[in-house]
Symmetry: C2
């Protein structure tokens, strides 16, 4: 596939909410967009055609997992991730940093990068801003992420009391944010080198010359650190910007405040991606604060745990009340699962341990998320986002519901 | 769905091979047919639409499993198995006998029936010819099977040396065959009662009044016992006849001999169903001996174990030789998996433990089986079955293959 220009164009705004079109070398994505997570090159529980049917235009692949197995070298020799996994549409890859900091053992962080042992076999591995860039160049995703330093908990800057502090060392938050900026600069430099002087990196097969790269804003729950991170990261210059370090245990109101503080400071003409979020109401609230892209394992992981997400909230399919319930999971939903199957049947499959239960619940949850994004985009296009948002919250509750 | 007449019509013959059309209350099935096994109301690893895509016109449900969970009463209240599982096409249910004899604990067989404890929770259960008929009447399958007595091993009649004896007590084989005939008579009597005097069985909700019932021929590997079983079972009179007690460990040549001996003695105008068979070459060989219907867990179970069936034989996807193999599993296959994915990608998913590997391999294996049946039917229709059979065997080998 020959490279196409990477571009982003906002078509409608409604308050701080934005509707737009992202063009990548592998096709177009309407925003606000939700990206199903395809950790190892497959969205867990379903096939690509089910992902397409659900309405996904872009998926996320995990650099850490793919680097360890089957390896980015093997994937590059196969022509890149799109070809290797048979998904011809856009792909975003993370930098691998989040998994190194959450999964790998014997982690050692230095200014150069991070050394660790694989969670699969204990093999010694190292990741640096340059190496994370190289790996993603081999994978050939349409959007690559810079390596950032992820710290375990959320902190706040002692110089500000705007957002609730939640117990992490504020100096560690500042140090990680500042290091992330330095790493982002090195990652951008490396990408420029691969773009303009590929001969200088003969061991890196660049499988998607049109690949874009996003910077990541850090700074915990501190407004001051977030602002500093925005300024320094935007100064480097990326095709888009992610907000990282959220959905890591902080109260949801704090998350909304950080997003509401950070997003408007980002360049209006660039994509804004909130990493790893979240529940359906989080998507609505963060679109309201100017976010364009989301990813989250929640719809797929919760499906495998027997939880259906509907416009009313969470439906726990194993509950005895559904044993003879002939209704579909969500009577208002148009997905294959809701068109064809009853709660009673899905409960039976789940209780019997049939893997088809995981598949059918995943089909529904992904459809629900992607349909929510469609409705959000429509509402923004019609200038009715605020009304949509109110109606959504009226129906939706995080408390367990009688469905 | 209102009941339609159950009928079977042979449209072409070629040697002993038959092509035909089976009409059931839930639609038409072209024969020879292969039935994917949907043990608990789902074909393991895939959704109904994938089963339909693969070309299945009929699936098999397991009475034992469905009786224990979620229960045939619950299924009847939901309108029957078709409605409960959302599969509108034909379904055959077994009698539950095979699972009682292979899965249940503390089994006690008497002339009345069999008592056992559930493999799920140890609950005391009992199955009789009448009860197996009632359960299937509640399930409302299009074809119900009579309860037969299954014995653990294959035996032979001492009065004959035609087929190889394989070590079971010949008197036990005779006794089980004779008891199976007596049970078949009781099962038929019960079905007639449910059909013609439903008021006499008020606890049995008959969800499919057009349900047909098949008898089962037993007799191990003894030609004499098989012939006796055919005569006595046909004398009772069923809409079709199954050959049971094969694919239980006997040499494949013996299985072919028993089928070749038994099938021609069955009424030419009735369906002939070989239970639990088998490998692709078994299907070809048993069609050549006059069989119309098959079921087997092999394509679905082997898929979950990483084995792909192709026209050349078995491809073990975990083998290192496929790590960078960009070919589809079978370049001549038209299934979704072969159209879209490489051996390298499927191997990666399998090695990573992604359940999508099981799904994609199941999609291929089922398509391969159902496409084989299509090709068999076409060959019979063209009067070229013998040529097809030779070409099939030339390509196919049970020995591990370099693909």
């Amino acid at each position: 596939m020959s490279p196409e220009p990477f571009s982003f164009r906002i078509t409608d705004t409604d308050g701080s909410a934005r509707r737009g079109v992202l063009v990548t070398p592998h096709g177009t994505v309407q925003t606000p967009a939700f990206m199903p997570v395809g950790t190892r090159g497959a969205v867990k529980g379903i096939t690509h055609r089910d992902v397409e049917d659900a309405g996904a235009e872009i998926i996320l692949g995990n650099t850490y997992h793919l680097h360890l197995r089957p390896g980015d070298g093997l994937i590059a020799r196969a022509g890149g991730l799109h070809t290797f996994i048979g998904w011809p549409h856009p792909i975003l890859t993370d930098s691998g940093g989040y998994q190194v900091f959450s999964l790998a053992a014997m982690r050692k962080v230095s200014e150069d990068g991070v050394e660790f042992r694989s969670h699969l076999d204990g093999a010694f591995c190292a990741l640096s801003p340059e190496k994370a860039t190289d790996i993603q160049a081999r994978l050939g995703s349409d959007i690559a992420m810079v390596l950032d330093e992820v710290i375990g908990a959320v902190g706040s800057d002692p110089n500000s009391t705007t957002f609730a502090p939640t117990g992490s060392d504020p100096e560690a938050v500042r140090a990680a944010m500042e290091r992330s900026v330095r790493w982002a600069r090195r990652a951008r430099l490396r990408l420029r080198q691969l773009r303009h002087d590929p001969a200088s990196a003969p061991d890196v097969i660049v499988t998607n010359p049109g690949q874009a790269q996003f910077g990541i804003i850090q700074g915990g729950t501190s407004p001051r650190l977030r602002t500093e991170s925005v300024q320094a990261t935007v100064d480097i210059g990326f095709e888009g910007y992610a907000i990282g370090g959220l959905s890591v245990g902080e109260p949801v109101d704090v998350m909304y405040e950080v997003v509401g503080h950070t997003a408007p400071q980002l360049p209006a003409d660039r994509l804004r991606y909130l990493m790893g979020t979240g529940m359906p109401d989080d998507l609505v609230e963060c679109v309201a604060r100017g976010i364009d892209m989301f990813d989250c394992v929640l719809p797929t992981r919760n499906a495998r745990n027997g939880q259906l997400l509907t416009r009313h909230g969470v439906l726990v399919i194993r509950n005895a009340q559904y044993a003879e319930d002939r209704q579909p999971p969500d009577p208002a939903c148009g997905c294959y699962t809701c068109r064809q199957f009853s709660r009673a049947y899905l409960r039976h499959l789940f209780m019997a341990g049939e893997m088809t239960a995981a598949t059918l619940l995943t089909v529904h949850n992904l459809y629900f998320y992607l349909d929510l994004m469609r409705r959000i985009r429509d509402a923004i296009g019609f200038g009715l986002f605020e009304q949509f948002r109110q109606e959504f919250h009226q129906a939706f509750s995080r408390r367990p519901q009688q469905h």
